[in-house]
Symmetry: C2
Subunit: 338 residues, 2 copies
């Protein structure tokens, strides 16, 4: 492998000059510049990133931790992260946790061991593994939480998200305003703070409207097609079944609609469905899905910006940044039958 030394020898200059040619070309005279350029071309030299990063003490890597690759909403967030990453010259390392909560130690160690310069968590951080000790005497590692709302213990991290509780409340209120009284809620994983926030909003809206919540109406959808299909089938067997279901994400809503129609019922005529996230497939579902839209790309961009600042040491705060959500009414919701 050809190194800077070889280039220097061939160009008849010192390695420092070659290095300067690469990093601040205006510091080297045109004449030498040409010599070096030619040597590089002749040898096909490419600077060794490993050595360079080592020397500079910077990895230029960001780890993005997602519950699972293949979630359309997170992809949209990633898109935003990418924009900024590219602009700021970072590479993105995607880590899939397979829906497990994130062990803080595991990922903060990636910072201390210089595997990455910063971390974005789109997954839930498990509260109990957070260990003050690891940080003893150290600066906080640059970590930004995104999308997941933040429990109090975690408030020391900056984060970017919508107000899940308010959004869920609005969605539920919309169903109530249509005349629904028996409204079910399909949850995600219960260890997810995001799920908790949305459930909170649902409960709040129901109790504000003095509507009871039957235990049977809390459905476990696991955020997945399969989980949602199973629990929808169960729901349909209930004797006094709800007239509307609020699903904690669009994918579950999609599955719910499918099962309802398969059972010979109609959406929204028999059952109204409302989703969450506004993934790109929502619009082409049958019926097009009423859902809560999040500005996914913007969330990604803001998150990445804040991470960059944290890496530069400029972001000390733990401020939570809340971005606006929006209820998008399409055709999967209608007044209850009868």
């Amino acid at each position: 492998m050809v190194s800077i030394k070889d280039v220097a020898k061939i160009a008849g200059v010192s390695i420092a000059t070659v290095s300067r040619y690469l990093n601040s070309p205006d510091q080297v005279r045109e004449n030498t510049r040409n010599k070096v350029e030619k040597a590089i071309k002749d040898t096909g030299y490419a600077p060794n990133t490993l050595a360079r990063n080592f020397r500079r003490g910077k990895t230029h890597m960001i780890v993005v931790v997602v519950p699972s690759i293949g979630i359309p909403f997170f992809e949209a967030v990633m898109e935003g992260i990418w924009h900024v990453a590219e602009e700021q010259d970072y590479s993105i390392l995607v880590r899939d946790t397979r829906y497990n909560t994130v062990d803080f130690d595991e990922f903060s160690k990636m910072i201390f061991s210089k595997e990455a310069d910063g971390i974005i968590l789109l997954s839930t951080l498990s509260p109990f593994t957070y260990d003050e000790q690891v940080l003893s005497g150290r600066k906080h590692p640059p970590i930004v939480l995104s999308c997941e709302s933040v429990t109090s213990e975690m408030s020391q991290f900056p984060s970017v998200r919508i107000d899940n509780e308010a959004a869920a409340r609005e969605a539920t209120q919309y169903l109530i305003s249509l005349g629904h009284k028996k409204i079910a809620f399909m949850k995600g994983r219960s260890d997810s703070t995001l799920t908790q926030g949305r459930e909170q909003g649902y409960r709040r809206a129901m109790s504000d409207a003095k509507l009871p919540i039957e235990p049977d109406w809390l459905l476990e959808g696991q955020m997945s097609l399969e989980g949602a299909r199973r629990s929808t089938r169960k729901l349909l067997h209930q004797s006094d079944r709800p007239t509307a279901v609020f699903c904690a994400n669009d994918e579950m809503a999609m599955a719910a609609i499918h099962e309802i129609k398969t059972a010979g019922l109609k959406v929204p005529d028999d059952i109204s469905i409302i989703g969450f996230d506004d993934i790109r497939f929502s619009e082409v579902m049958d019926p097009p899905l009423t859902t809560v839209a999040q500005p996914a790309e913007e969330i990604g961009e803001r998150t990445m910006y804040r991470l960059c600042r944290a890496i530069e040491g400029k972001e000390i705060g733990q401020a939570t940044e809340t971005v606006p959500h929006k209820l998008v009414v399409r055709r999967s919701t209608a007044p209850p039958p009868g």
Copy 2:
């Protein structure tokens, strides 16, 4: 930042011993092992990956190049890649080309400059940027192509894929066997060899059955929801419109179904639709989508295995590995009306 030196000093041993403790603990006596272990715990030392990788000359990184993040099929492939990567201790760096073809030089340089140990291309490699010169006197960089079929110039790379042409032919033949004669084909990007292969298969099936192909039946779907919706709307305005559409991926099929139903027509009663990939949403579409299934995860696994071998220098061949596809008949296809 605490380094191996600090640990050594505190433990009262040499840095070599600490290094050995980390890399081959059985070479150090229990007594010393304990001292080192304690020192590490006390200092919170974490080996500097940057230095380590630099010294070892290995990045432990694999770059996976995708046309776009957020394509359900590729996510499934990635899942397979991940399995093997985890097992073999590689991290995955995802690069999104935004549907641009891949410049060979750009990515092979990542190998020479030690940004990554190997590359998996899920995107189309642009034939013309391939530059023999770059490789002059060098070993071929470890690159494996996946999913995209391979043009002759590229045959020097190992690859894993289904037989797109055969698969597309079968799908088309299936429509023909149902009695369809006017069959449209919705393409992806035309610079994609994958698209070309599928179009080839479609044409082949049609000509084998002595069926003509009207120019209007070649639809530009751009592999996206939006593109597919546009071209479907155009299709519906045709005077003598096809009775079936074969779409080069499921996402376009999804959009096509949506537009057809929006226009007041029925799938499959008025128009049959067949997709490609069998993404997880296919099953919950209305109607559930008839499609060509690819063993996505297996493709990912095999690709990654071959890349590992290429990195170890064991894979010299350029063999193309073909995995089996399968036509999955659901309910979006039926005999033509009348």
